[in-house]
Subunit: 604 residues, 2 copies
């Protein structure tokens, strides 16, 4: 099979004037520096000097995944630099690259932890993230090369990849055959793109092909060969990085069996294991998936990185075989499960994203300590395992790449991101405040077919301009546009009441309020608690009020509240009392102090 | 304060002709023997020979609480013997008592585990259940003495109690000051009643008074002095045994501060921590309480022994200060959370009693193994920690004692158990099929005041006969009866729809169907699954159908079902489809194979 389209790469995009431009400005002005500061003070950057030794401050002792934290920061900074040159950021990266050059092994290997702590044990412990770190360093090097044209980092990483190929493919001396934490597979495809060297693509395919052949660990998706996997299992971030690489390889090699397996795994996620926010990961125990349809709320996991990997995966799939099912899922995760991961001021982060917060039981009544099994209630600036903050940074900086794909004849508009997107003489300029409203103005340059996603949540739309308009079964509206033509695409965006499949025992019978791609939630700071005592009437609709301070639309519902009682159980008497209910976008929750939060509201 | 009444003791009661008589016959003919067989084959009886040594079968290695398992069995057998003499049961008990006599220490001490495994470490490890085992042996000895008049066992236990008193009160050499698992406190009050020796009452009070003074373990309710405790915390069975002893001591000593503390703790249970079945224990982690109002369903714990202890506690409280709040709670636990603990054939048992079973996720899709965090789905005949089966046996055999309390002028009818109950020239004969229906016929012998509990769930009743009838604020109807008078007490028992306090996030907005004291549930074997997809209409009422085979009333509801969907989330369209819903009493669930079960049904 041949991929239908390819994503329009970052360099051919320019995000401007809309929701994501604001986010990118915050990312560039605040977040990238906040994360740098935290990483600097926790020793992550200095760790590249390879100077830490036993007896030094234990807090600064390099962890097995510190390389990847900094690598993701570099990748994000590179995306920023590519659009807004920034000598200060470049200096940080160049210095770090110099340290990598200085510290790498003669054979090209680089890893802070193993070099310092266990130099004799390279590639002996599959659990220790070596290839994961290598993968992120490779991604960073490719991004920096694309941003600046500087190839020193890229060459270092080519040497490292060559060393890995020799070890795993030629000499076969490592104690394991495929990565314990997937990531390098998709990075090698990027390295192939940056260098044109097919051996990196082959090495990626090698890691995919040997996975699950001689081992049996469903925690790391190696319980069976990847082409035979049908259910998403194990550690969530590992899973979505693997699936993204499967999609990449299917696109490059035309391997239909790989695409079909990835498609089944996508359905396993989107139809059986995904929270209504697009979040993935049902339990913090192993940061993992649970059974199909088992989606607990107060103990949900939903790591920000898992949402990011899910967006990466879905976006890749829809370029290969455009279908709104992928883009709807990516959009859901983007505006909710992912965006919730960073505070409105851009400085703090959720590692796991709660689906419900009930402060009852969160803190020990004895000493106020946070109950380890209770939901996280507040974003923090840094954590021991700080994979998410730089991952947030790189996705926001790279968001332009997630908007469009193209082939010779067509541009697909997957995500409604304001900006300019160009490929091979075809260009669209998208003007929109989406998701604030559903008005999308598109100006075409060149003559081509434009494919506009019609989100499944949208039941009414208008489209003016273009010719031969037809809605296809893939969920895209195909319309022929002429050079200079302006299209007005309008998605009706009413307040919607969404229910869950009855197999989801946790929220069956309750309702999630949504508008466009945004999931809404009730916060205790705005509503009487317990929030479960609020009841919504789906026939009553909702009213929009602009919150100017926090810059989003609130939804006001004419709802009801179950009166307080001194009793634990009592006869049902339908005595609900009218109560205004105020909802805010889920991504904005927990920005006004610790408070209850609920997505799935009781239905009157 | 002086206790208002005292329970009419077992010897003055005779259960006949109703629901509990059938249960007692099953208990006498099947359960007591089934438990004996399992205990015999697992080595629990032979352990009293004190012959096990290292190198012998590890499976037969005595556990720290085996003494108590057999002691509870003896206690239950003694209650049975007291009503139905049984030489075979007596022989088993006598032989066991002989072994205790032979195996006890010169100072009176007896404990299988410590004698065999750690003879030098007596009373050094508070966690090792020594005093708990002693308590159950004392209870067994008292029961056997009351049943047969044989005092050998009783004397052995007096010696043991004397040894404990010397150790803990006089010599103070043990490494802890109060029991790690409460139980002996209430046993010592029974020993005081059987012997008239006040020193046993004093020893009980000693253990209560020193508890929580110099330690800080809320797991075993010793985080503060018991009179200062207001919230039920820690291990559930420990808690309710402690609270029962607090009630006993308050009754004996008139200690109002102890009664008031027990009353607060009762409210903590009944108003904030009790499942709708009367089950206690919100998590299997530590078999413990969680926060107030946090009542998870599929991970509920609800140990059968905790329900038993709760019934014991509530029953004691209502004798001291009659109030239907205690008896309603005891009744709820009795007919639901407790009775569920034994199968309809009397042979198998639940240790923990699930509140909801969703077979999704119960078994590993890989190898079918039971997920350790999934609800228990089937009763079993024996388990490593087999405290519950003999505890079930002893409560059923002793149930007559839970029916009435009396003082000079009045008999209180707390539980509607068919039989005869007599105290000091006052006697009532209760004829009823309760809870099959609400008709209760009471014949009086003697002239006295009869106090009939009006359950809070009963909104309409009739009462014919008697004089000066008045309903008091304690929830009892007081009526003066004359010798030979017959009262007809009729409790209206419609199908009721019960809701939870909105603070209980897990079931807020859903409904529990009840009739009289019985909680009903839907089973997958009777209804389409997922059961959460069923919706009930509280305005539609319910129809009763007799299940002749299993001998209970089923409830048929004109309900609805949310249609199956291939999607995980979709717009609410109110498209519920009419669906008959069949409910059975909760106590009868899981008697027809492994299947889904749900108590809290969605509301239309």
């Amino acid at each position: 099979m041949k991929p239908t389209s390819k994503n329009i790469p970052l360099k051919n995009t320019s995000v401007s004037g809309g929701f994501w431009h604001k986010r990118q400005e915050l990312n560039r002005n605040v977040t990238i520096h906040a994360v740098y500061d935290r990483f600097k003070e926790t020793g992550r950057f200095d760790a590249f000097k390879l100077e830490w030794k036993e007896g030094d401050d234990e807090k600064l002792k390099p962890h097995i995944f510190w390389d990847s934290d900094v690598a993701k920061w570099i990748e994000g900074a590179a995306y920023i630099i590519s659009k807004n040159p920034d000598p200060a950021l470049e200096k940080i990266i160049d210095e770090t690259v110099d340290l990598i050059e200085k510290g790498r092994w003669d054979d090209g290997y680089f890893n802070i932890y193993y070099t310092l702590m266990e130099p004799d044990n390279r590639f002996t412990d599959r659990w220790n993230h070596e290839l994961y770190c290598a993968g992120h360093l490779i991604e960073a090097a490719v991004a920096y090369f694309n941003a600046t044209g500087k190839d020193k980092f890229l060459k270092l990483m080519c040497d490292y990849a060559d060393m890995i190929e020799k070890a795993f493919v030629t000499d076969k001396w490592p104690k394991f055959t495929s990565p314990g934490h997937e990531e390098i597979e998709l990075a090698l495809v990027k390295l192939y793109h940056a260098t044109g060297e097919k051996r990196y693509l082959d090495l990626s395919r090698h890691f995919i092909d040997v996975r699950g052949v001689n081992d049996d660990l469903d925690y790391m998706q190696s319980h069976k060969p990847v082409r035979e996997q049908e259910e998403a299992v194990g550690h969530c971030v590992r899973a979505v990085y693997l699936y993204s690489a499967m999609a990449d390889l299917a696109a490059e090699t035309g391997d239909k069996s790989l695409f079909d397996a990835a498609d089944k795994l996508f359905d396993s996620l989107a139809k059986k294991k995904m929270y209504v926010t697009g979040g993935l990961g049902q339990t913090c125990v192993g940061e993992a998936f649970l059974s199909e349809y088992d989606l607990p709320e107060t103990s949900a996991y939903c790591e920000t990185c898992a949402a990011i990997g899910y967006i990466m995966f879905a976006n890749r799939m829809s370029a290969i075989n455009p279908n709104r099912k992928y883009d709807d899922a990516a959009e859901l995760a983007l505006y909710n499960g992912f965006l919730c991961g960073v505070s409105l001021d851009g400085k703090s982060f959720f590692y796991d994203n709660s689906i419900e917060v009930d402060l009852i039981g969160v803190h020990s009544p004895k000493d106020g300590r946070h109950n380890p099994f209770a939901p996280i209630t507040q974003r923090v600036e840094v954590f021991d395992c700080s994979c998410c903050p730089p991952n947030v940074t790189r996705l926001i900086a790279d968001i332009g790449e997630y908007s469009c794909s193209a082939n010779d004849s067509t541009i697909w508009l997957h995500q409604f991101i304001a900006g300019e997107f160009e490929q091979d003489g075809k260009k669209i300029t998208v003007e929109t405040l989406y998701p604030e409203n559903g008005k999308i103005k598109i100006t075409a340059e060149g003559n081509f077919t434009l494919a506009l996603r019609l989100p499944a949540w949208c039941k009414n739309y208008i489209l003016s301009g273009g010719k031969n308009t037809k809605l296809q079964s893939d969920g895209f509206i195909y319309v022929d546009v002429a050079d200079g033509e302006v299209l007005e695409y309008g998605l009706d965006m009413p307040v919607r009441f969404v229910q869950a499949n009855p197999k989801v025992r946790q929220c069956c019978g309750r309702l999630c309020v949504q508008r466009g791609p945004l999931v809404y939630c009730a916060e205790g700071v705005d509503n009487p608690t317990p929030l479960r005592g609020l009841f919504v009437d789906p026939t009553a609709g909702g009213k929009l009020n602009k919150n100017e301070e926090l810059n989003f639309w609130e939804i006001e519902l004419d709802g009801f509240v179950q009166p307080e009682s001194d009793e634990l159980y009592y006869d049902y008497d339908s005595a609900l009392v009218p109560q205004k209910i105020k909802l805010i976008p889920y991504y904005a929750y927990a920005n006004r102090g610790e408070t209850d939060m609920l997505i799935w509201l009781s239905r009157k």
